[in-house]
């Protein structure tokens, strides 16, 4: 059965780009896409996906807040943070329970980026 992913980013362009990549290149089923942290939590509850990707700078509830709520309710959740943010916030997210982090911009036009991205996702899916 296909692995499922929920993609959360306040940029519709970014969710489209990620959705295409997960579906066409990685063979995932995109269960849902969201635009803010509140939707991330709702969508995680509704779909319990194999993976959720989380932007950090978002309206209503930011990615860090959504990550905290998801990890509290679903300690085994596999959350991949995808953000342009640099600095201590990333370490905080990893401490809260995010499995890994991918830095924007997403260079799906570059082979080495695609290779690393796939490897990161594979590693997360293998985690307990």
């Amino acid at each position: 059965m296909d692995k499922t992913v929920v993609i959360v980013d306040d940029s519709k362009f970014q969710t489209m780009q990620l959705g295409r990549f997960f579906a066409d290149v990685m063979g995932f089923k995109v269960a849902a896409t969201g635009e803010n942290g509140e939707e991330a939590v709702e969508m995680y509850r509704a779909h319990k996906p194999d993976l959720i990707t989380m932007d950090l700078t978002m309206p209503k509830l930011d990615g860090r807040g959504a990550l905290s709520l998801i990890m509290k309710e679903f300690p085994d959740a596999r959350v991949l943070v995808i953000s342009a943010v640099k600095g201590p916030l990333l370490l905080e997210c990893l401490a809260i329970g995010a499995k890994s982090y991918v830095e924007k911009p997403l260079r799906f036009d570059k082979d080495d980026f695609v290779r690393d991205f796939k490897a990161t996702v594979a590693e997360i899916l293998q985690s307990p």
Binding site: D10, S11, P105
Partner: protein, 166 residues
Amino acid sequence: MKESVVRDLIGNNLVRLITGGLQGVYPDPFAGRSAKTQGLYTVQSPVVISQLAMSPASQVLSFLVMETDSMVRLGKRMLPDRPREEALKLVISANAEILNFVSSRLAWLLSKLENAPNTEISPPKVGNFSGTQAFRIRAEEGVFFEFACIPQNLAFKFATCIQSIA
């Protein structure tokens, strides 16, 4: 921290940052150049994307303005299978992504410059800045650039306003 120090830091890094953001979104090579301004610089367009980066000592408000013609052309080229309006919305979203990348990096630069780990950025916002809603920046408080991709007839403006927080 003197505003001029922050402005020089941003001015010296902005083209590189914007180019980095562009590469994740558009396949076209844009070239940037400083837009010299005296007096007031006016941000004025029906579609302006803005975003705030803040440290305890400074705030940096940035604007990305792409004229509708360029957005329509980009939408047609990048998303030919989508209806015009939807393609336009996706181009605006792509531009917001570029601004978000730049603001994130500016926040990080501020944190390094001011040794302040708790910098913040707001989500990018899309607003109508036409007519009386135009936003004016004093030239000495801002950094202004114009970007163009001549072969595809695409262009946008990028303005950043830097202020110290008393």
